[in-house]
Symmetry: C2
């Protein structure tokens, strides 16, 4: 029959205790606080444990201590190149802190995100929500259950890490103005996104400051296709340069323009945001560089503080950005 429990057969603390000729408590301490025990008792226990292939059961440990060293990171879409560097940054810090990182992808839907947080909540000590699509009430509700740190979402009262693209976007508009562009476009991202609202505002301010005409074109979601499809409208607008919500959208613009044989940057300039594509486009993309990895690192540090100190504080951590000029921008055509 196959009515065994999974994990059945794995040695338990009791078996180790018996082999080593000590109590269960001693075995437990040999692993968690060896300094409480004499050196040779520890050695005896470790030997017995090794001979049995014993490894402490994390689940049982978590039940009695309430700690298991797991944290969750939830992103809208693993396929979006914006997130991997951030994930990697968080992972690196998690390793340092001895934490184990669980990753969830919500496919950009609030419902899935909600479900994920709920499922994770019972099994992790804290959650990092990246670019959450949840409304503020839901976020607060979750935060009441389990420590939450936000990235690119500005909910007062919760610890949050914000990539302040406003400065970089400002520099991007300056850059275009200096090149002589008098009419530019902003191609938007997800309306619900905090980042999009912030970037949109920054472009508007910059344009007003330089007396540049601004057209805003909507792209339903931040995707390559959306960028590509918006190209006809872009050309029709009469603008000579575009700032896209993110690099992926910008890449869509580049391809859409190439298909119409409009040379970049001779006839049209394109600027992205996030700097996640590096120089993998042709021409290499001028973009606003955000330190995504740093955002992940900071969020993790914040979270482990919250967990350690058992109290969440109202921290708003802003990371600044800078313009990286590559080959997709040039002087405005005559």
């Amino acid at each position: 029959m196959s009515d065994e429990k999974p994990g059945r057969g794995l040695p338990t603390i009791s078996q180790v205790a018996e082999v080593a000729g000590v109590s269960r408590a001693t075995v437990s301490r040999a692993f968690t606080r060896p300094q409480m025990l004499s050196a040779d008792t520890v050695a005896k226990v470790k030997t017995a444990a090794k001979s049995l292939g014993y490894v402490p059961n994390q689940v049982a440990r978590a039940l009695s201590t309430g700690r298991h060293g797991n944290i969750a990171l939830i992103v809208p879409d693993v396929a979006n190149p914006f997130f991997p560097p951030l994930i990697r940054g968080a992972q690196g810090r998690a390793d340092l802190a001895g934490l184990c990182l669980f990753l969830g992808s919500s496919d950009e839907t609030p419902e899935r995100e909600d479900m994920l947080v709920a499922k994770f909540a019972g099994q992790v000590e804290g959650v990092i929500l990246v670019s959450s699509r949840l409304d503020e009430d839901r976020i607060r509700a979750h935060a009441a259950r389990v420590p939450v740190v936000l990235i690119n979402r500005d909910v007062p009262g919760l610890p949050r890490v914000l990539i302040d693209t406003a400065s970089g976007i400002g520099a991007a508009v300056d850059h275009l103005a200096a090149l002589g562009h008098r009419h530019i476009c902003y191609v938007t991202g997800p309306a619900a996104s905090w980042s999009n609202q912030q970037r949109r505002r920054a472009v508007r301010n910059g344009a007003r400051h330089h007396g540049i005409t601004l057209t805003t074109l909507p792209a339903q979601r931040a995707s390559f296709e959306a960028g590509r499809e918006v190209v006809p409208a872009l050309i029709a607008s009469g603008a000579t340069a575009a700032i896209a919500f993110d690099d992926v959208t910008a890449q869509g613009l580049l391809v859409g323009l190439a298909e119409r044989k409009i040379n970049v940057p001779e006839r049209f300039s394109v600027i992205g945001c996030d700097d996640v594509l590096g120089a993998t486009t042709f021409p290499p993309l001028t973009t606003v560089s955000a330190h995504c990895d740093e955002a992940g690192e900071t969020a993790l540090d914040l979270l482990s503080d919250v967990i350690r100190l058992r109290g969440t504080r109202d921290i708003r951590y802003a990371l600044d950005t800078e313009l990286v000029v590559r080959g997709s921008t040039g002087p405005a055509p005559k």
Copy 2:
């Protein structure tokens, strides 16, 4: 003071029992096997639970049942576009099966992968290893502790899902031969990768069959940069077409060629593998399409079978591939 346990304050089964005026066992059953109880007892318990905001503690449940509905998926690198579709496929199936998926990224290093599996092993019911860089002994060792399913790694005795690129690569060589190419290059991927060995062999067989000259150029790792850097050697080889280990490498080739003003496909043809970039390159990449999402789905189904039936079988599941012709291939230059 802040010496409380995390999770402290969350209602437990005992509190619900007291409020509802029943025993703890009854509360437990109200959630796990309501059909055992009378309808109004269930209602009474649910009401009490809701009023307290009770939600069952997964950790405690896992300890007593040995089941927690968690599984882990470990990939070499989340930043590689090959994996997200696969991840998404697995997630979809996990949702259906009521399983919660944990994701780990090993950064292409066997040590990290080893550590990740060990950390996860105690907290999940099964592990899916994608393109594992571990040696066979380590994989077997882990498989002895926790159910393991492999993707793109061929270890006899373990359930595994293999994307059989041989057929697609064969079609790619046929395609180039039909276009008149007489000398082609294969740009390799990670030497330790099963996929790379398989693809390399398929190119060799195809070339031999058509009597085409084959040059093999090494790219240290599967990356955009590696592809770009190999371009000079590619040109020097005298070949008129290249098949790259994967799409990302192929993209590197495209950019490297564009930088040297070598038009694709007029003067040089490029073929990728995996079909993860879609048409986001310019020109759109001809590539061997692998059904990554399907691989994720299949692996998850296999794993949940193994968990349910408590027995691992020697299953070798091969997914076939096909050539998708887009704009990066054309007739051999005269």
